[in-house]
Assembly symmetry: C2
Homo-oligomer: 210 residues x 2
């Protein structure tokens, strides 16, 4: 398999964690997002959205969208599972993951921040925007799991929720957000980061890290 | 069941279609988003994100995030299915749905547009922003399914992809986007709109429609 990504992309980071948890190896093909390599014609032919990640399977299949890729990995390589078995619990885990993947990450991604700059917003306001999306979103995430037993987001094993949380917390800190008011999120992050699968997927461990 | 929604929310619209397809009835509880009813304390206790939809099950369970709700409906009420059986096809359908649910809708939702106004952007630029998010996103969606047989997004039956597409096309038109360059999307929309489940879920058919 080939994983098209970028060391700092939190969506690619989620998929790197999933591959590691499943014990799968992939050739990592970095695309430098700040240099616009994700909108090169060859890459757009694979991923019309011009986003990372894209996973190319050994059979030539091309998968896009991190959560779709992760659900596919979970369906085709069930161990260890990344979703609970009970439908209601699955819905809770997916809702947490989507609260990050839909309502935080895309609002603070490179494309949106570039658009804000085009509108004439000074850099300070652009960073404020990204910090706002992370702060508001993570506060809601903390509430979503405050009644859940730890140490992970949902109990004693990692799920898709943790795969989304760890990269998003990294983004939040990068934008200067004080995350100390989110004890459940930090507990889950700490549990995850003790695992080699998460540690090896970190941005600063990737070959294209700057 | 009770569905907390808003006639014009495209995320609530997706869930209305799913309930109709599954032959399920729910009491519809509208929250007027432009009046801020979604951030009333009683509602935030159900949905900490302050977003619609929220689905309350008959057993008191509370589900948030439209795609998590729809996957739960599909797992607990399998007929008609909203995802194909093959994992690779499921991944393709989910990627299309997520391209809308992550990368178009949240970038043009009420909360983000309100934030742009707070930054001093004139109304014309706010509408430009929403139109941009729809135009770019839908162009990528058209490419994602241009090689797929119709009439629906993925073949001869509706999937989660169509549940996301129909509400998003309604948004795009509301923001003045010319969608005539997206023939596959329009073909899928036309097929879906012939179905009573889609027609009955339309914003103008809801009790809180203005």
């Amino acid at each position: 398999m080939k994983l098209h990504g970028y060391f700092r992309s939190s969506a690619a980071y989620r998929v790197r964690i999933a591959l590691n948890l499943k014990g799968l190896t992939a050739e990592h093909l970095p695309h430098h997002l700040r240099k616009g390599e994700q909108i090169a014609p060859d890459y757009l032919a694979l991923n019309p959205q011009g986003l990372v990640p894209t996973l190319e399977g050994n059979d030539g299949s091309v998968l896009t969208q991190s959560l779709a890729i992760i659900e596919w990995l979970d369906e085709t390589h069930p161990n260890p599972p990344l979703l609970p078995g009970d439908p209601l619990r699955r819905a809770k885990v997916r809702a947490f993951a989507l609260a990050i993947a839909c309502d935080i990450h895309p609002v603070q991604n490179l494309k949106v921040l570039a658009r804000l700059r085009q509108l004439g917003l000074p850099e300070e306001k652009v960073t404020d925007w990204a910090a706002w999306a992370n702060r508001e979103g993570l506060a809601a995430c903390e509430t979503l799991i405050k009644g859940e037993k730890g140490p992970f987001c949902f109990g004693d094993a990692q799920t898709i929720a943790d795969l989304c949380l760890v990269p998003q917390l990294a983004n939040a800190r990068r934008f200067g957000v004080d995350v100390s008011g989110f004890p459940r999120l930090l507990e889950a992050e700490a549990a995850a980061k003790q695992m080699k699968a998460f540690a090896d997927a970190a941005p600063d461990r990737q070959p294209d890290a700057e």
